[in-house]
């Protein structure tokens, strides 16, 4: 079975986010009423697994082994059965 995966990696609370701070300043320069910006990364991919449970377990492993550094990163994931339907 094919699963569609979306992983979002973000900085843990309390960790400095210089990219976010710089982006916030730039948005303020453009006169948008923005206070804070948090920068993260989004990864999307498909994964083959025997079941949704196994797919979720593998995604957890992928995040812990490569996509996130547990020292500073949190991650969230959405794993769904891949749909072949074409949206019109």
């Amino acid at each position: 079975m094919e699963y569609q995966v979306k992983v979002e990696v973000s900085l843990k609370p309390g960790h400095s986010d210089p990219e976010g701070e710089t982006t916030a300043k730039s948005l303020q320069d453009l006169r948008y009423p923005v206070e804070t910006v948090k920068v993260g990364k989004v990864y999307t991919f498909t994964l083959s697994a025997d079941s949704l449970e196994k797919a979720k377990k593998q995604v957890d492993e992928i995040c812990q082994r490569l996509l996130a550094n547990p020292v500073k990163d949190n991650y969230d994931s959405v794993v769904e059965e891949k749909s072949d339907r074409v949206s019109l």
Partner: protein, 272 residues
């Protein structure tokens, strides 16, 4: 060339300063080979070499996180060999991106064993941006680190940095304990300081990246794995110094040589 000693400088897409690193070893009479990871895996053996160097650069474009992909690829392709390589008391050096690789691979700080997940991180610089300038670092090690044996404790070195992700941190929950461990195990090697040896205390640009406790370099608990953000190969010769043309007498060598010399002395003693 010193018979028996060979250093492997690992190259992949995006690494740099491999040529300068090779030249530094060769100046000390040691054979150094720049080798692509794929060639090392397919055609050679890690055990042909007594030391492995992860050079500077932006391996695999710094994608995911700086050093993360090369760290995982190396472990995936050479994991058991790396373990044996370390057990055989061979040396591993990581310069700049190489330091990021060693941290991401769990080989540093490596308090007692290789950790499955990184125990530290080299995060985005504060202030943000790519910083390329000459830095001063103070030698903090009391003798554990093989790579700084020729450097008296407390000596200040002038070596350039060039990175965007060099802010050494531990997790908030572990930083107090881990810093204590670094001191207890004599794993702290270099801290950023000013030209008089006064610690930066986080102040930019003396501390060029906002590193926790001004940490610029650490070793593992054996002293045989070492990583640092500054580039010693860019401060090997006197003519690499920024002000060399203004000096009355140009020194032949510069501070970076001491790191390579320390390394070579150990290799000569143990691998010839």
């Amino acid at each position: 060339m010193e018979a028996g000693i060979k250093v492997c400088i690992l190259r992949v897409a995006g690494t740099n300063c491999d040529a300068e690193t090779k030249r530094s070893f060769e100046d000390l009479g040691v054979k150094a080979e720049i080798l692509h990871l794929s060639r090392l895996v397919k055609e050679k053996s890690l055990f042909d070499y007594s030391a492995l160097v992860f050079p500077g650069g932006f391996s695999y474009g710094d994608y995911v996180r700086a050093g993360a992909i090369l760290a995982k690829r190396t472990l995936a392709k050479l994991g058991s060999d790396m373990k044996e390589f370390i057990e055989e008391e061979r040396l591993i050096l990581g310069i700049c991106n190489g330091f990021q690789v060693l941290v991401e691979a769990g080989l540093l700080p490596r308090f007692s064993r290789v950790s499955e997940h990184p125990e530290a991180s080299l995060a985005t610089n504060i202030p943000i941006g790519y910083h390329c300038n000459w830095a001063h670092i103070k030698h903090e090690n009391s003798g554990r680190c093989i790579f700084t044996q020729k450097i008296p404790k407390g000596k200040t070195l002038e070596i350039p940095v060039a990175h965007a992700e060099g802010r050494f941190i531990f997790s908030k929950e572990t930083e107090t304990d881990y810093l204590e461990k670094l001191y207890e195990n004599d794993q702290l090697v270099f801290r950023y300081c000013d030209e008089n040896g006064e610690y930066a205390n986080g102040k930019y640009p003396i501390n060029p990246n906002g590193a926790f406790h001004d940490i610029a370099g650490i070793c593992d608990d054996t002293g045989r794995i070492f990583g640092l953000m500054p580039h010693p190969e860019r401060a090997y010769y006197g003519w690499q110094l920024p002000n060399w043309t203004r000096k009355e007498k140009i020194p032949k060598y510069s501070d970076g040589k001491l790191i390579f010399q320390s390394m070579v002395e150990y290799l000569k003693k143990n691998f010839t």
